[in-house]
């Protein structure tokens, strides 16, 4: 213990001033200019449960991303095998299966197949194989190590895409962070239209251009006879007069000619005929070239514009289109068109995402919680303060002073460390008010004991503080251990509780022991009081 009261008092003063310094931006309605330029201007950051907003936990379906990559690779492999004149049969499987099956007629083609795989497709490997009647059926899959990398990449890419979308949607201070292996946390403070935001974030937005299969009939396909190399997709038609929605089936070739990855920009524009919004697309240089070639080769055929497996339109290609412009029409509202333009600009998600968890708090509930939290703190604080004075008289007053400092330091630390204050966090502060006086109770009880044993005030205070110091330390460490587990386990609001509890306990060690001791020492040493009011 430092002996000099002056040095100790100065130290305490510094701590308090630092706390107040960090609190100034939160308390002052208007900061002077020199402060804004040079000094911290962060207000205490409120959690979504206090300021209102939406918290989402998304899961990226990385298995689907891997499956998509595998199936694309399988398509390429098919072409390479044909070029190299390897005999094989590609067995149709589900689009999201983790393996693709090939059938090889003899050992020679097996050898050639393996060579192609080894030379040109290092990411692929043979999974299982069965031989029947001399024909071998084998499955290929993506190497496990590579798959892990690709999954990680898919999550990173999803995160980036979602960040782009949210930024363009216009949310102030959104937070988009990865969690665990395949999850993404999205926090949108103060958002009003949650449903719209969720649609915007969750949309895969995979834009594909595919030719319509006009050689086969849709009716046959609807009966279940879908020709090889084609798929049955649907689109919605909205009747302009009645507003009725009908599903229209389309038979579309599986091969994707062009995707949204070739876009340079997408924006909303208003059609001249009906004044309806649609999305105007502009391809990048390569995309424009491809688009020109595709349209040139397929004049008079119909080109389907497919978004996430839904056909938006399937216009007839009238002529070769150069310049790289296209548009998606459909029955959009203005908001829908705007959101579609955003997701197309931001790019497609590499894999579908699902919302695992959502917590939305409206702004009025947040304000109510702040009010209730504030009142609880004030009432709780007053009750404890009055109790301490009644029970310990002037010494209780000293403890109350320590309590006020404690609260100032908690808020100051929250601002300084940019921690988030949540509703359970406020509850933590109220709880700390009740628990922080414990140190003083311990000390005062001990001082009373020592005084009863006939010690002088100075000796009693010396003994009181000295003997209980380790006890206070021990008991606080256990509370801190509990807070640590809370922090490790908890989600947002509960983490806030762990934070205020931890700061409060640490601050109480300083205020209830160090600061009160200065006051007692001052009166006992300098004023030489003969009795202690305890």
């Amino acid at each position: 213990m430092i002996k000099s009261i002056r040095i100790r008092a100065a130290l305490a003063l510094v701590v308090i001033l630092v706390a107040l310094f960090y609190l100034t931006p939160s308390l002052a309605p208007q900061l002077p200019d020199f402060w804004k330029k040079n000094l911290p201007i962060d207000k205490i950051h409120l959690g979504l449960d206090l300021q209102g907003g939406t918290h989402l936990v998304l899961e990226v379906d990385t298995d689907k991303a891997i499956a998509a990559i595998l199936h694309r690779a399988a398509e390429n492999l098919k072409e390479t095998l044909m070029e190299k004149k390897v005999r094989f049969l590609l067995l149709e499987g589900k689009a999201d299966a983790a393996t693709v099956a090939f059938e090889l007629p003899d050992a020679a083609s097996r050898g050639a197949f393996e060579k192609v795989l080894k030379d040109d497709y290092p990411d692929l490997e043979i999974g299982s194989s069965t031989v029947r009647d001399g024909r071998e059926t084998l499955t290929i899959r993506i190497r496990e190590k590579r798959a892990e990398e690709l999954k990680k990449h898919a999550v990173e890419q999803s995160l980036e895409t979602i960040r782009n979308r949210v930024d363009q949607f216009g949310v102030t201070e959104p937070e988009i962070i990865p969690q665990g292996k395949d999850r993404i946390i999205v926090q949108l403070p103060g958002i009003k239209d949650t449903e719209r935001a969720k649609k915007l974030i969750g949309k895969t937005a995979l834009l594909e251009f595919k030719l319509l299969d006009e050689e086969h009939s849709v009716e046959e396909a609807l009966k279940g006879n879908i020709p090889e190399g084609s798929v049955l997709l649907y689109g919605t038609h909205v009747d302009r007069e009645t507003g009725r929605r009908t599903q229209i089936p389309y038979l579309v070739k599986s091969k994707t000619l062009l995707t949204g990855a070739s876009l340079e920009s997408a924006k909303v524009s208003i059609g001249d005929r009906f004044g309806e919004p649609h999305v105007a697309l502009k391809f990048n240089a390569q995309g424009a070239q491809d688009f020109e070639r595709i349209t040139g080769e397929n004049v008079k055929k119909r080109l389907a514009i497919v978004l996430d497996g839904v056909v938006h339109s399937a216009p007839v290609i009238q002529e070769r289109i150069s310049g790289g412009n296209a548009q998606i029409t459909g029955s959009f509202t203005m908001d829908e068109a705007r959101d579609l333009a955003i997701v197309l600009r931001a790019g497609a998600l590499p894999a579908p995402v699902t919302i695992l968890e959502e917590r939305t708090v409206g702004p009025s509930l947040g304000q109510d919680s702040i009010d209730q939290g504030l009142w609880s703190t004030i009432i709780g604080g007053l009750l404890v303060a009055v109790f301490m004075v009644v029970y310990y008289r002037l010494s209780g007053l000293v403890a109350d002073f320590a309590l006020i400092l404690n609260i100032v330091i908690i808020f100051g630390a929250l601002a300084a460390f940019r921690a988030t204050l949540t509703l359970p966090g406020i509850a933590g502060i109220v709880l700390v008010i009740g628990m922080a006086v414990d140190a003083n109770v311990l000390i005062f009880e001990r001082v009373r004991e020592e005084l009863r044993a006939g010690k002088t005030p100075r000796a009693a205070i010396e003994a009181g503080y000295g003997k209980v110091f380790l006890t206070i330390l021990d008991s606080n460490v256990t509370t801190l251990i509990a807070a640590l587990f809370l922090f490790g386990f908890g989600t947002g609001p509960i983490k806030g509780f762990a934070v205020t509890l931890t700061i409060g306990i640490l601050a109480s060690m300083f205020t209830a022991i160090f600061v009160t001791r200065i006051i007692f020492d001052y009166f006992v040493w300098n004023r030489r009081i003969q009795t202690v009011s305890v």
Binding site: V57, E59, E195, G202, T354, I355, L356, E357, R359, T360, V361, G362, S364, L365, D368, S369, Q372, G373, S376, I379, G380, L383, V384, F387, Y392, L423, P424, A427, V430, L431, I433, G434, M435, V437, D438, V441, L442, E445, E449, K467, L470, T471, D474, S475, N476, T478, T479, I481, A482, A483, L484, L486, G488, F489, G490, T491, P493, I494, F497, L501
Partner: protein, 303 residues
Amino acid sequence: MEFIKPGTNFDFVGKMKVAFGISMAMIVISIASIVWHGGLNYGIDFAGGTIIQVKFSTPFTIDKIREALRPLGLQGAIIQEYGQGEILIRIAAGASEPTGLSDRVAQSLKGALGEKSVEMRRVEMVGPKVGQDLTRKALLAIFFSWVGMLLYIAWRFEFRFGLGAILALVHDTIITVGAFSILNKEFDLTIVAALLTIIGYSINDTIVVFDRIRENMRKDPKKDLAAVINESVNQTLSRTILTSLTVILVVVVLFFFGGAVIHDFAFALLVGVTVGTYSSIFIASPLVLVWERYRPTGRKRKK
């Protein structure tokens, strides 16, 4: 002012058997209640599902709301009043497609009660995957916090002390959880936070008593352990009660003024702090004595 006069000397150790009886009874009742209810009444954090809190500015009846939700296939939803002019709708996981659910509920309610009268205050949706995750995390957190406390006390004191303290903690946790089960209150994340806080608080209380026991043992190593324990509990009794009182004071404030979200949290703390105070007086220290008397090997203290 003094609640406990100096020189007070209750025979806590003598009441050991009664206290153990009471505690055993409470634990048995708690566990029986949990079994009887077929597990705890898990909130959406653990069970998954959706809750929607809605505020109405015009008069409403629960029946009218139930009627409004019927077309959405939500007749199984639990609707309860929640503070003034507010309701809480609980929809079990799997009862409805979660995408756009809150929007559909909002539209239906607005259709039934008027556009302006309905305010969506809060929506929480937890998928089953997250629920399982949180359950596992919660159990681990509670278990490891017990182990953490045991290690700390065993290190700072002695193993026998650690054992008494931990049994007292398990005792506090079970009884608090039991209280939730008996009242069929919803058990969610904030309650687990409360439990962890109780664990931290109860051990804190126990340590103060243990500290005194250790101090008194050093002062007079020949003294009978039972007498030392009694003396120490009595000497710290005033502090134990006072601190519990200030904590209970603020918890009661939270209970009444903290708002609906904090209400059950405060209730858990109230039960836990009360039981924790009782256990550090009547259970934790006497358990040290029991361990000392009945442990199979090792040296016995001489009188």
